[in-house]
Symmetry: D2
Subunit: 355 residues, 4 copies
């Protein structure tokens, strides 16, 4: 756990476990003078909060953020911003089973192999609950890039994709799935309900777009904008793939098909396409950033799976408890937060070098 800090100049550090007293983030390098209040961050946390519908975990956490440092008279001072969220609903239960045996798909075995032992209560540090701290930090990051609009949604659940022609931005906030296609949302409701009742789970694909990013952000070669976004998104629990622009589909194109031709525009080129997802050579082009993130199905399922115990004995395990049947859904605000955090960092980094 040597690197719980992310970012180069605008940086955040998170801490906390699923069943500890609290979790939090320290945001460092934030420019001074930005208007920041707890009420300004809370909506992002509310978007991610568990227990809001039957399609997410029933753990009831208010996820109220407190700002412990770094602001004075409602504005950032340039000093570290300490954000804390108390854990309220750590349900007292019997952890003996998960303490003893490894849940397949979870980090249980890997943590034990690395550290020799682990805090098994609710997954400890490997719990997706940590992403609440990222979302809070992302709320600060958004203030650093006020001209940027970051918007994520779910594009597919369990292989069932939206119809791009039916995309309706306004629809995203109207359903429990951040789904921009009303018809797909109805189908997903049934699918996720079925999965939940069957004790099963589903994977999902989250898409994200950021508009208002000027050309020139990104620090080649090893802090390229796409490289940073990939690292940021791949660090989210349950994520197994990241694409920029056309991503894997681009690998099936020819050079002609993939070219984003340009015509003269207002103060820069007007692009005729955006296969590149707004990034060339690791630097933003001024087009909308486009990326897609693959979430595996929640590993916690009610079906018994073969496993081994800490002592190496054969066993079976099924994960009782309160879990999201499709963890990708609540991944939406987390992806947004990570994109915001990368962009804030790159904005400041660009200013450092290119002033």
């Amino acid at each position: 756990m040597s690197f719980n800090t992310f970012g180069r100049v605008f940086r955040f550090t998170t801490w906390g476990e699923s069943h500890g007293p609290a979790l939090g983030a320290v945001v460092d390098g934030c420019p001074p003078g930005l208007a920041l209040t707890e009420a300004g961050i809370q909506p992002w946390l509310d978007k991610r909060r568990p227990g809001q519908s039957r399609f997410t975990t029933q753990r009831r956490e208010p996820d109220e953020v407190r700002i412990l440092s770094g602001i004075f008279e409602g504005r950032t001072t340039g000093t570290p911003i300490s954000l804390m969220i108390e854990n309220v609903d750590q349900r007292s239960k019997d952890y003996s089973e998960v303490a003893k045996a490894y849940r397949p798909g979870h980090a249980d075995y890997a943590y034990d192999a690395k550290y020799g032992f682990r805090d098994y209560r609710g997954g400890g540090r490997s719990s997706a609950r940590e992403t609440a701290a990222r979302v809070a930090a992302g709320g600060v990051a958004r203030l650093v890039v006020p001209g940027v609009r970051i918007r994520a949604w779910v594009e597919a659940v369990g292989g069932d994709a939206i119809d791009p022609a039916a995309f309706d931005d306004a629809e995203i906030d109207r359903n429990a799935f951040f789904c921009p296609d009303a018809a797909a949302a109805q189908r997903w409701e049934q699918r996720i309900d079925a999965a939940r009742k069957a004790g099963s789970s589903l994977g999902a694909i989250v898409a994200c777009e950021a508009t208002g990013v000027p050309a020139g952000w990104g620090a080649p070669l090893y802090a390229k904008l796409d490289s940073e976004l990939a690292a940021a998104c791949m660090s989210i629990n349950a994520v197994k793939g990241v694409e920029i622009g056309d991503g894997f589909a681009a690998a099936a194109l020819t050079g002609e098909e993939n070219a984003d031709a340009m015509r003269p525009g207002n103060g820069g080129p007007r692009f005729l396409a955006n296969h590149a997802g707004g990034i060339a050579g690791g630097i933003s082009t001024g087009q909308p950033l486009r990326l897609r993130v693959a979430f595996k199905p929640t590993s916690s399922i009610l079906t018994p799976v073969e496993t081994i115990t800490r002592d190496g004995e054969a066993s079976e395990i099924m994960t009782r408890g309160r879990h999201d049947p499709c963890v990708g859904i609540r991944g939406v605000p987390v992806v947004e937060a990570m994109v915001a955090l990368v962009l804030a960092d790159q904005a400041l980094l660009h200013r450092a070098q290119c002033g």
Copy 2:
């Protein structure tokens, strides 16, 4: 270009442009006492070297690496290892066109937008030629993790994939495409030849497997093994997507389908599947690492494409010069190098924290 260094403890810094006198890498943090010679690194560079078949750029570069520091009597001393490769075949040509107008899909416009001007000769710093330095550094990294075998290959060219049933490890080195399927290699030869003659280009998918990685490598949360691999691969020229294990396909599975069940094995679990690609919670599980990388088609094509000039005027451009019709092919040794560099870094980082 503020971050041309990659890695946390085992780190490398690259420098150099396509048409400068040389390019190189400084490898820092290498353990002392490892047997290292120029001859030991050269084979990796030879694998990447241009001009070896008609399917890659015809630029003729011997790519001979020189070690300028960090070894004594054939062994690493623990001090920085400076690796240098001279540029030999920078063809003198007329760059006025590319100096004046932006090649779509290239970094030309983005670099100008960021830095105000650019070294346009052969793409300057944004040229894939820089990856020679990575491959040299990767040769050092392999010495740090001697028990690990890293093997990449091309899995698809222009949407034409290998037959997994025909996978033959020995075949990979027998054709010009790092293709493990002899029949696919024959098809690709025709496709790439056709693309080359048409002045077109093709995308590709590169797969990579690393065996011999022990359980426990990876530094959650923001230097997770998968996150580092994603950053490393996404930083390679022309890459637009990265998957770990089943990647995007996992998003269509159920929790039962995606579970990597375990049975007692020798000194650890025996996994019944490897959907996770050998990583859980950002930490290696002891299974083979599996990842896939999407390369877009080479942006340099002989078809004229609409663009604008530096002055914002409408124009057309087609990229003459010597280019790979399918840049993904020579991406194979680069992906291997980046995986080696990440693993060397994580191996040392794990030793730092967990002894």
Copy 3:
């Protein structure tokens, strides 16, 4: 405030202001399995705690540390350790004077010049109160290097130095000044009392010795052990100078006088002197580390000093409030903590590269 994190592999991040609700540190990269409790850290904080005698500030802070993450069943898990100390005695007072004018010697003007405005209550982030968080983090660091004994003391107050011949280790904890010379302690009591009554303040020199450091720690060239120690100590409030070994006195020696000759010893050399302070080429030699740190006199004095207001008008200011008449004294546990933090980091870094 972009870099409130210190360390390479074992790292800590501090946050908090003098008059905010709390302050704290996040310790990252700590090895797993170490026995850690709040009671284990508290004694270091108690040593630094204000209000213990009339020779330090009368602010009454219990400085009770809470551990919010990173431990399970009394042992470190390898995840980030969040340490929090609540501010209890932020006395409600009238800050209008210090809000309006700059206190000479303080960071007031510099912070305003940098950030445009500042949290002026008690110095905000520039208050020495932040060092409580370092001391807490230092308590964790000590667990990482259990074989090392770190011991600091005050060597001079206001130019009045101890008699080296009278040095008595046991005396250090017997007086309010961490003074190893009983006679000097008596003199200092009078001097500091006089300064306190006169509303004046005194500088001090703190010396520190670390024994049990094995040969080989330090990461040349830019994370040399002495370089890291210098950075660590110079980052402490009011510090204006750092010496390793003989320091400035070495500049007056000849090569013969300064040579630390060696004879065969047990498992290494037996050194006949330690002018070098235990470090050569930036690497520990196995001798005791020796360093000295100069603290300027507390800038808060009751004598009016010429200054300017925020609006650039001429003014006068004198600093009422509760302050240490000799801030160097409470610097003792802070220097110890910083040395512990550097050594923990270097110990892990050495293990990373040299196994």
Copy 4:
């Protein structure tokens, strides 16, 4: 040797040994568009070059710098700047003695203890020859802060100090000692000659002043300007102490004596004194930066000193070869370079956060 990179945003990495084919630096993060040529850097190297008088080592190195990357048409492109200096005069000699036994005061024993073996030729990586790379990098750094004038000189040799009243800036470049006091320069000539003939060596104190630094540079808390300067200077070979402003002398002052009172000035305060050396709270105040650096006497002396061999046997060693009788003198351009490098980094870092 895990950290041969210095800096946060404007960063440089050095490589190379005393007797390898070359040494160099990679400067990363330099803003684009700065006029940079080899001829522009060379004067700084010439100032440090050995063999210029009988008071420095007789090794004859032209120290001609080559720029291998990062410039185009005479201007920086924003990409890494690779600087290389060939080693020309590595005298072929018999190293068997120094290979076998440890020279007291040198890094020989410490390197062996850390790495298990070492490149003993001329001190390998621990040789002060590495500072040539820093001076070259410093030449680039100066371009980043064109309004800053950095000036160092020797203040004392072997305990014999200049007369502050005789300080003459113009004198510094008129003698072989960077001495601003003509009378002192004459005395030093005799002292150093005597030391050289006796096979002895002398320590020195180097002072440095930087004017033109605006208020506001410095990144509290752990990249404070004074902390970075201390780290930078302490990383120079043979340095044992660093002071900012009054340094250790401040520890003997009262708060009244140490206060830098302010009066209204032009666009900021006019300070009545500069005890602080231009830094408060880790941030520049707009006053001249003042610092002092203590160099120990050269460890290479012709007097035999007791030591042990690699096998732990008692032995004696005296260091033949070509050495500076007072290494502090050539430290002057190195201190200047390190100050320039810190200021360039902090200038960009300040721009990142505070725009």
